[in-house]
């Protein structure tokens, strides 16, 4: 009997939480010119610019650190701590003119020596293997007057994309792990593990100063708690929400739609039966109805793919591939029959349990595949299990997940399909794909490169390396009184232009 009463009380509490909204906090924050931002995970244990392993940490610390060049909201690279750069004709020597009178948050003035120190530290310490790999290609880095000269061993037409990711930190400063110091528009104030991170406006910023005086990132590892807090008015800005989460948020918030800049697919293990047969993989492409998927999971929001490039990466995106496999159960059955599976087969789709969009997609796909006679079971696994078993161990038949681009380069998305790549989770092997990729990476002519990368992307579609689904729609809930929030083509959150 006691239990029942407890249950009823709990139900009441859920209701009162859902209904009661407290607004007073929001007004107080407006008066203080500060905002609370909700984030879905704690930052990495180290905040050092070379130790940030998670996208969620990079997203926040983007406001604190800067490189010589900085990506802007259109995907261009703009001068930041360097005012200009020149490249030698052989593409091997980059000369950066270092901006003068730039102050670090600790008051020190930035010098070319700090830049050299930062590049050397990044080359030896960085946990990002992509950046580390590129910096290994650097033969020498020297400071000369107000310039920094970087010499490469071989040309790399993506080099500027990496320059924007090498953050500059003061030489011989040793407290980056806990008290990070950079040159960005905001300086780090404090961090409470599992609770919050506070940054404040840096008044000696070299460029256009931030509008807000202070930003507090509140950590909510439970998505429901995050949305509840937003609903209750204790947060002003939350990114990466899905369509159901922003439903009914009310007029206190503006909802801005974006995509997550990732390639969500039903990734197939090309190395195991029956997915080693291209006809089976193509049959799956036909059996899946991506439009219905978008309607069911996101109310029709989201961008269809067709290959391993997302649409906002327009340089390499080929819109004609989107409808390469129009939904057709008959075609799917026909291909399955040809492949020797007239009655379909059983398969297991693994989904990382902490990413509900992937789990939801997997559930819808399992339902859609039934029509073609394929009996799919969804198995949820912990993220760490997914990393070890599926991503590294390649012990899977099919999995729903999303791959993003760590830098704005075609290699970041396509490189993982090269037969020799350690990241080739799907075990995709294609001689023509390998040839296109190899050639693209050996030349510097941008137009020709682009053409080759596009051809490589078409190989993935033709061979149905996986069932490419969508770049997921995501939504930002921004308090209606706030202005100036813009999306980036990368996983970043720029708060410097946000204002009341």
């Amino acid at each position: 009997m006691k239990k029942l009463i407890c249950l009823l009380l709990a139900a009441l509490m859920i209701f009162s939480c859902a209904c009661g909204k407290q607004k007073s906090g929001a007004d107080a924050r407006k008066d203080a010119n500060e905002i609370y931002v909700g984030i879905g995970q704690d930052l990495s244990s180290s905040l050092s610019p070379y130790q940030m392993s998670s996208a969620g940490t990079r997203e926040v610390m983007f406001n604190v650190f800067e490189g010589l060049y900085k990506v802007d909201s259109t995907g261009d690279f703009k001068p930041a701590l360097a005012t200009a750069y020149t490249v030698s004709d052989d593409g091997l020597t980059y000369t950066f003119t270092i901006r003068e009178n730039v102050k670090f948050h600790n008051g020190a003035v930035m010098t070319p020596d700090d830049v050299v120190y930062s590049y050397k530290t990044c080359a030896s310490d960085s946990v990002d293997s992509a950046i580390k790999g590129v910096l290994e290609n650097v033969e020498s880095i020297t400071a000369e007057g107000g310039k920094v000269i970087i010499k490469l061993a071989s040309p790399n037409s993506d080099f500027m994309a990496y320059v924007s990711s090498v953050y500059i930190s003061p030489a011989s400063y040793t407290d980056q792990d806990t008290k990070p110091v950079g040159t960005g528009p905001f300086s780090f104030v404090s961090r409470t593990v599992q609770d919050s991170v506070v940054i404040k406006r840096f008044d000696d910023y070299w460029g256009e100063k931030a509008k807000l005086s202070q930003v507090t990132f509140k950590i909510f590892e439970n998505a429901t708690a995050l949305v509840t807090a937003l609903d209750a008015g204790s947060l002003d800005l939350v990114l990466h929400l899905d369509s159901t989460q922003v439903q009914g948020l009310g007029k206190d918030f503006n909802i801005q739609e974006d995509t997550m800049k990732l390639v969500q697919a039903l990734y197939l293990n090309n190395a195991v039966k029956p997915f080693d047969d291209v006809r089976v993989r193509q049959a799956l492409c036909y059996a899946v109805d991506v439009d219905a998927l978008l309607t069911l999971t996101a109310g029709g929001h989201g961008a269809k793919l067709g290959t391993a490039i997302y649409p906002s990466f327009s340089k390499y995106f080929d819109a004609s591939l989107v409808n390469a496999y129009p939904h057709s159960t008959d075609k799917a059955k026909e291909l399955l029959t040809q492949a020797g599976y007239p009655n379909g087969f059983d398969m297991t789709i693994i989904a990382p349990s902490n990413y509900s969009p992937h789990v939801n997609t997997a559930m819808v796909l399992a339902e859609q595949l039934k029509a073609a006679g394929i009996n799919a079971t969804v198995k949820e696994v912990e993220w760490n299990t997914w990393l070890t078993d599926v991503y590294k161990g390649r012990k899977f038949e099919a999995t729903v997940c999303g791959f993003d681009a760590s830098t704005l380069t075609a290699n970041a998305l396509l490189g993982r399909y090269e037969s020799t790549s350690g990241k080739n989770m799907c075990g995709y092997v294609s001689e023509s794909f390998d040839a296109y990729m190899k050639e693209a990476n050996s030349i510097t002519d941008d137009a020709k490169r682009t053409e080759l990368f596009r051809a490589a992307a078409k190989c993935l579609s033709d061979d149905a390396a996986s069932v490419y689904l969508q770049d997921l729609a995501e939504f930002a809930a921004v308090r209606a009184t706030l202005k100036g929030y813009v999306f980036y083509p990368l996983y970043l959150m720029d708060l410097s232009k946000v204002t009341y």
């Binding site: 989460q245 439903q247 069911l296 399992a366």
Partner: protein
């Protein structure tokens, strides 16, 4: 059955019996017939409130909530049944052996039981699931094992009490063997204590399944269970669509109310 009614002719027993019977009947019906395919998705009726077509409304995938509750309650009850079966059978065996024979094994096993019951059962189950992984079978095994100590204690106490009674001494004098005494002479006399414990066990098992699936360590994504649905329904409450949570919560409440009343009724005589 008649005898059970004669012995427990009280309000709790009647109400609990009727409620449990009705719920179990509905759930069994759900195993052979549901208004819709519980997994069929229909984008045209996404996230609707109760309508004539969908009596309890639909979820975000346009799936019929009534059908899913019927199927989910079936899964939950099935899990509860096997959990109680494992807990009651193994608990009875352990309790009977330790209670009857006593000695060092009894001491050791009962200290282990003390240690296990010192932790909240769901917490223990969570730890175990973290080690062996989620899934329906694992949940059944883990919860079943977690439920053993409570049954073992109850049965042990009864065996310790009853084995000292005169009729057991007489049976021994008549040459009845130890195992026959345990099975045929003592066990039937533990039923008045065991039956309410089993009923409470059902109650706890339903709640434990709900808690574990709610925390995401229960049944897998392609399966339906009440706990899983309650977990999903959180998102609906926040989006101003409370009926999903209400209906699922109500189903759980009715199930455990039935079992609680039944247990209460079995404990009270007349």
């Amino acid at each position: 059955m008649k005898k059970l009614f004669a012995k427990h002719n009280n309000w709790f027993f009647k109400a609990g019996f009727i409620l449990t019977t009705v719920m179990v009947f509905i759930v069994l019906l759900g195993q052979v017939w549901t208004p819709y395919d519980p997994n069929a998705m229909d984008a045209s009726v996404k996230a609707q409130g109760p309508t004539l077509r969908h009596l309890l409304g639909t979820d975000f995938f346009g799936r019929d909530i009534l059908s899913r509750i019927l199927e989910g309650a079936g899964a939950t009850l099935q899990i509860a049944f096997f959990v109680v079966l494992i807990g009651a059978v193994l608990g009875t065996v352990i309790g009977a052996l330790t209670g009857y024979f006593g000695g060092v094994v009894d001491e050791v096993l009962m200290r282990i039981c003390d240690a296990i019951t010192a932790f909240p059962s769901v917490l223990l189950a969570l730890i175990a699931i973290a080690v062996i992984g989620p899934g329906r079978l694992n949940v059944i095994m883990v919860l079943g094992c977690v439920f053993i100590p409570s049954f073992a204690r109850i049965v042990r106490a009864e065996f310790v009490r009853i084995k000292r009674l005169n009729y057991i001494s007489l049976a021994r004098l008549q040459g009845v063997g130890d195992f026959r005494i345990m099975l045929k002479h003592i066990l039937p006399n533990t039923l008045p204590t065991l039956l309410p414990a089993i009923s409470i066990g059902f109650n706890n098992a339903v709640l434990a399944e709900a808690s574990m699936s709610f925390l995401g360590v229960g049944v897998s994504a392609s399966e339906v269970s009440l706990g899983r649905m309650l977990s999903d329904s959180q998102n609906y409450i926040l989006r101003g669509l409370p009926w999903y949570a209400v209906f699922v919560g109500l189903t759980i409440a009715l199930l455990i109310l039935g079992f609680s009343l039944l247990a209460e009724g079995l404990q009270q005589r007349r």
